[in-house]
């Protein structure tokens, strides 16, 4: 890639706040560096990944509001966490975390455990109990 071919496709999700460094060749074929604000394929792939995440978060939110899942499921998706990761953060087995995703089990969780979930999601216990 020649230096003047380093892509400057700003159609990205970080609104030009961030530039990456690239290695490219100058006119004499010698390597040098140049920064780039973004590139189309990367922008496409990244927005596709976020669309997928946002869709999943929305679906889970709807399930929580319909009383099918506890807020833990929603905040797990929203924080991009997987079940093994979340279990690791709160110090529980995966099957226990899965149980806590049942609304009636969630109702009876101890304050201490709720606090552990809340701090994992970087929110308060009050926020954890409420999904809007």
């Amino acid at each position: 890639m020649k230096k003047e071919e380093v892509p400057q496709d700003g159609e990205n999700m970080h609104q030009g706040t961030f530039k990456q460094l690239f290695y490219a060749v100058d006119d004499s074929g010698k390597y040098t560096t140049a920064t780039s604000v973004g590139w189309e394929p990367e922008n496409i792939a990244m927005s596709q990944a976020w669309e997928e995440i946002n869709e999943k978060v929305e679906q889970t939110r709807a399930a929580v509001l319909a009383g099918k899942l506890s807020p833990i499921a929603y905040y797990m998706e929203k924080s991009l966490l997987t079940l093994p990761q979340l279990a690791g953060y709160v110090g529980k087995w995966q099957w226990q975390v899965k149980r806590h995703m049942k609304p009636d089990v969630f109702q009876h969780l101890s304050e201490d455990l709720l606090q552990r979930y809340a701090s994992t999601f970087n929110i308060t216990v009050a926020q954890l109990k409420q999904v809007q």
């Binding site: 890639m1 970080h14 706040t17 390597y31 780039s36 496409i44 792939a45 596709q48 997987t82 093994p84």
Partner: protein
Amino acid sequence: MIDFKHQQTAHCECGVVSNMFRHYGLEISEPMAFGIGAGIFFAHLPFVKVNGVPGSTYRVAPGQIFKNVCKRVGVEVKTQKFGTPEKAMAELDRVLEQGTPVGMLSSVYYLPYFPESYRFHFNAHNLVVYGKKDQDTYLVSDPIMESITEIDSKSLAQARFAQGFPAPKGKMYYPVNVPKAVSLKKGIVDGIKQTCHYMLKIPLPMFGVKGIRFLAKRLAKYPEKVGPRKASLYLGNVIRMQEEIGTGGAGFRFIYAAFLQEASQVLDKPELKTLAGELTKIGDLWRNFAFEAGRVCKSRSAAGTSYQDLSKLLLHIADTEEAFFKKLAQVKL
């Protein structure tokens, strides 16, 4: 206050090596660190799924580059892991007070200075903490950022103790013995040999040049195997592994070509410069592949033909890379 010279780099691990060693008067450019560290690689692991999507990598395992470079230029490093964030942060403070910049592993998700769109749970990001602004704020030289940044202690502790694979467990490292002058020659030769071995000789279909063919064959079948929607996600992940944060398929090829140019001068081997030119062209082939793949993702067309075309592009890349690494392996160093 530690006077740390920050320089933006394309790849975090090589960047930390280059920036940290320079602090001790040992000049090793980012491409040189990448080459000596034998960083370039390829693997496609369909069974290792990340968020339900098969994983590909264009580089060796995290930590390997750093380890290889230190071994090959004779830098002695102290590495520590911790059981609790409290201990990890206390030890960081202690080492900083001695005037030593500290390299560490972190999770991108918890680094507030990163653009929101990049903040996935990626746990093997390297950065250097080189001081404290006040009790609660650390000064950071993150190699992929344009300039130095800051981070609050709570976020830093979270980033150092992220869960998942690999869990950083507060891992931090710093040189304890840096030679003032080193000869890069042997390191370059060993690095090139290891790279050629990895790309050509691993007797499993997922690795090296064979791994590119392996991905090509599977990719052709994505639409019929997993349906158009998932096929698009799988393909998107190939692009992201290849292009995110300035590195990957094309990016690593360009860094390695820059390394070969430098190595050609150090070893006085003009053949390496010629090969650098060839590798630049291969990097352009990878860019072309990413570009076409992006178009396929965008249209989300279920037409199997586009995946077939992409597969052919990859097979061509595999052939060209095989020829390239065979030539590189034959250069008398």
